[in-house]
């Protein structure tokens, strides 16, 4: 039996294959040879054969028959065998199959081996793919190695412990004693892995977190040494000493400082130092700054530090490196709610990012732009956003259009501007707007009484240009049907009225009916519009003719409409004027369809549209929820909101009669377990002094068990330079809001 071919020989051979079939043939042949070699229990060449198998596995071929062979290699005394065996185990074995448990004993022995490199192999394998059963069996060994003075093993044991804890969280306690002096190590490898271990423990257990808070001064010291120490060739990356360790320490500090005043205070200086002294010319420096910013924003840092952090992000936005711009936008998106004003300062840079070539950057810039729109900047922002809508990828258009509609609704400076903006969206991205925006827009137009003539004229002109965008066509048909009389009488005040005859209008509408571009829904709209014009126009015969033709349409919906309209002409003509008269102002009902979302900081703005105009069957009663020398929060509960009677919608109005503004105002609420709460975005986070304005925020509470509504609220804000936190319970909601 000739010796099996060497690994590299095999690789060379396989690479000469010119077709997939040729390759498969070679592989099959070699696999057969390997299989018989395994059957013969050949110890000498097992290593070589398994290595070849691993290569073929990487090419995508099955290699499960090598699993047991890997175990035999691991059990061998030869280091080469063990190395390949463990590699094979990590590549081929799966914790779902019981066969992996056979490794446990070998690993246990190897963890106690006299050669540290064998111990290392065992730790690595266990830490990479150890199952929960294996971890349970071997945790004790890992814990032992965590206390060794051999730094090569200690660092591996620490990461192995992390894996054990992830697999079997109950075992976390047993590693606690070994963590005692982990941070006094000089070895960077041990330090790094120790910080990772501590981070894992703190993230999983609040008790551990409180226990390890006392390490903050030590961590601060280590970080300081890293920054202040001179050049250390061993750990230097572009002039920065051990950036990996710096980043991990910053991350642990973030977890330890969150929600804790003392810890946050203790790390304030070092954070400021890192933020100002880190070299920003290379990616590595920016990586550290990025982590620093995340930490500053998450802990209880003083406002100066927070502003520093936002400014770093602002600088990131101007960086040539697109990766840096990307992380800046992501971070700003997270902080835009809490530090709104600070982020506003960078608005123009953010808007510039809309023109970036990278898709992810554009998306984030878009989301952030919507979050930054307010009453003051609406005109400028909308110009940019409309331009963006024009030129962006189709994937963006739907979200962008929805966002524009929402922003326009909230902050439109005038009705004319609002209509113009809607028109612009419909004409540029008309086929991408969501289906539910058509009824919303119709409602909006109906309620802008003085703009009817202008609106119908603009829509008519748009139809002359292009009838392919269905939402535009539908809104236009509806408007023409409704306000066609204004159109032909040339009553428009806002712009030069156009001269158009009844026949021309009917031509357009009939054109929609026959066009291939029109969907059935659109055809329905245009037929109805034609019918409505029978009470507004004088060309009755023409309309009657159209309606009767469609009485035999193949489209059942159209046919039904036509037949009914026909009946209206024939038998109920006396009712026709009343039935087809002008629509009254509509009350807005909550939209049922898929909600339009503009994600900001995890909260959806989707329901702002519908909650603003909820039909209140009885007047919303407002109660005072919270009162404190000069600061009051009134809650307004809207009850029996459509369509879900289990949802109570509460609007809070915060006013401030003191002489100083309340800035960085954040309202948080918690409800008992049987309720579910959704907090929508606040109108702003500054409550102006002297009652000059208010902050409103909408809360939706789902109360399926119809229990008494109670709420705990927490207010944080800055008043006269100092941060204030208030807690209160609100119990005085009227019974109708939850019954």
């Amino acid at each position: 039996m000739p010796a099996p071919i060497r690994l590299r020989e095999l690789i060379r051979t396989i690479r000469t294959a010119r077709t997939q079939a040729e390759e498969r043939e070679m592989i099959q042949k070699e696999c057969a040879a390997i299989r018989s070699s395994f059957r013969e229990e050949d110890n000498t060449y097992r290593c070589r054969n398994v290595a070849k198998l691993l290569y073929m596995h990487m090419l995508g071929y099955p290699a499960h028959f090598g699993q047991l062979e890997c175990l035999k290699l691991i059990a061998s005394q030869k280091f080469t065998d063990k190395r390949i065996g463990y590699l094979g185990a990590m590549l081929l074995l799966d914790e779902r199959q019981d066969v992996h448990l056979l490794m446990t004993n070998c690993i246990k022995n190897d963890l106690n081996h006299s050669t540290q490199y064998v111990q290392g192999l065992a730790l690595c394998t266990l830490g990479c793919m150890g199952s929960s059963e294996m971890c349970r069996d071997l945790a004790g060994e890992v814990e032992k190695l965590l206390k060794t003075s051999n730094s090569y093993l200690r660092k591996k044991a620490a990461l192995c412990a992390v894996h054990v804890i992830r697999k079997v969280p109950e075992l976390m306690e047993m590693f606690l004693p070994a963590t005692k002096n982990l941070l006094s190590e000089k070895n960077h490898g041990v330090l790094h892995t120790s910080v990772v271990l501590l981070t894992e423990m703190c993230e999983r257990s609040p008790d551990m977190l409180s226990h390890f808070r006392k390490l903050v001064p030590q961590l601060v010291r280590i970080l300081k040494n890293l920054i202040m120490s001179g050049y250390s060739p061993e750990h230097d990356v572009s002039g920065i000493s051990d950036p990996f360790l710096q980043v991990r320490i910053l991350r642990l500090l973030r977890i330890l400082g969150k929600g804790d005043d003392d810890s946050s205070e203790a790390m304030n200086d070092i954070l400021a130092q890192v933020a100002t002294n880190t070299e920003t010319s290379k990616n590595v420096g920016n990586a550290i700054l990025y982590e620093t910013v995340l930490t500053i924003m998450d802990i209880k840092s003083e406002s100066g530090l927070r502003v520093l952090a936002i400014n770093i992000l602002g600088r990131f936005l101007l960086n040539n490196d697109k990766n840096i711009r990307y992380v800046a936008l992501t971070s700003l998106l997270k902080t835009v709610q809490t530090d709104h004003n600070a982020v506003q300062r960078h608005r123009s840079t953010i808007v510039d990012c809309l023109k970036d070539l990278d898709v992810s950057i554009k998306r984030r810039a878009m989301e952030l732009s919507f979050a930054l729109v307010n009453g003051n900047n609406i005109r400028g922002m909308m110009k940019e956003l409309l331009y963006f809508l024009d030129s962006c990828d189709p994937d963006f258009k739907a979200d962008c259009a929805s966002g524009i509609f929402l922003a326009a609704e909230k902050y439109a400076p005038s009705k004319r501007w609002h209509i113009d903006t809607i028109m612009r969206v419909l004409t540029t991205a008309g086929s991408y707007v969501r289906d539910d925006s058509v009824p919303n827009l119709i409602q909006l137009i109906t309620n802008s009484v003085e703009m009817h003539a202008y609106t119908v004229q603009r829509l008519y002109k748009a139809l002359l240009d292009d009838i392919s965008q269905q939402p535009l066509v539908q809104v236009a048909s509806w408007c023409i049907g409704e306000y066609g009389d204004l159109l032909v009488s040339g009553q428009c005040e806002e712009e030069e009225p156009i001269q158009v005859s009844e026949d021309e209008v009917l031509d357009v509408l009939e054109g929609l009916l026959v066009s291939n571009l029109s969907t059935p829904v659109t055809r329905g709209y245009s037929l109805t519009a034609i019918m409505k014009l029978s009470t507004r126009f004088s060309s009755l015969n023409r309309i009657k003719k159209v309606v009767s033709i469609y009485g035999s349409s193949i489209d059942v919906e159209l046919q039904q409409r036509a037949v009914e309209y026909n009946a209206l002409f024939k038998k109920y003509d006396h009712m026709r004027p009343a039935l087809l008269e002008r629509m009254p102002i509509m009350e807005k009902t909550a939209t049922n369809g898929p909600s339009e979302t503009v994600q900001t900081n995890g909260e959806t703005d989707s329901t702002i549209l519908d909650t603003k105009h909820l039909p209140s069957i009885s007047q919303p009663a407002s109660q005072v929820g919270f009162l404190k020398h000069g600061f009051s929060i009134q809650t307004c509960a809207h009850f029996r909101s459509n369509p879900n009677p289990n949802i109570a919608v509460i609007t809070i109005h915060a006013t401030n009669s003191t002489e100083a503004d309340m800035t960085e105002f954040v309202f948080q609420a918690a409800v008992p377990k049987t309720f579910q709460l959704q907090l929508l975005s606040p109108s702003s986070n500054v409550v102006p002094a002297f009652n000059q304005g208010s902050v409103t925020q909408v809360i939706r509470v789902l109360n399926p068990q119809k229990q008494q509504l109670r709420m705990r609220i927490k207010l944080t804000y800055t008043h006269k330079g100092s941060p204030v936190q208030d807690l209160a319970e609100v119990n005085n909601f009227p019974p109708q809001s939850w019954q």
Partner: protein, 156 residues
């Protein structure tokens, strides 16, 4: 880190390191889809993308793509440094590394990776120490295999 993949411009896998338990079938599916997604990226795009619920960090070195999947709390920029450090280690070990080195010595590429990362996290931040450990382990290999007349792997 959840996994790291190395693949060529033609989409051929050169290394796969998984730090989460997944079936072979799932790994193949993820690999196929992710490779397709990354290869479709234009050169001007940034090194990060969201894919399923993961953050993907990738960088191209010559003809090889190095692609990592990290978790939400992980720092993307430092992951780029991790990738770069791994490339430096390979470069030092092989002496001006190229794709062929990794193809013909894939097991060594794994050994180096396993001395640098463990369970998805960096275990050693000193380049020198990682290379020293590999060197020593290689010597052990030579020692053992020199006892048997058939050299399994050390000679190509």
């Amino acid at each position: 880190m959840q996994f790291m993949l190395l693949f060529s411009r033609q989409g051929k896998l050169r290394l796969q390191k998984w730090y989460v338990p997944l079936s072979d079938k799932e790994k193949k599916k993820i690999t196929r889809e992710l490779v397709q997604t990354v290869l479709a990226r234009k050169p001007k795009m940034c090194s990060f993308l969201e894919w399923r619920d993961l953050k993907i960090v990738y960088k191209r070195y010559a003809s090889l793509y190095f692609c990592c999947a990290i978790e939400d709390q992980d720092n993307e920029l430092i992951t780029l440094e991790i990738i770069h450090r791994y490339v430096e280690l390979l470069d030092k070990y092989f002496g001006s590394v190229c794709e062929l080195d990794i193809i013909f010595n894939f097991e060594k590429a794994y050994f180096i990776l396993d001395e640098f990362l463990l369970g998805g996290e960096a275990q050693e931040t000193s380049k020198k120490n990682v290379l020293k450990a590999i060197e020593q382990a290689d010597l052990l290999q030579e020692n053992f295999s020199s006892q048997s007349p058939h050299n399994c792997l050390s000679t190509p």
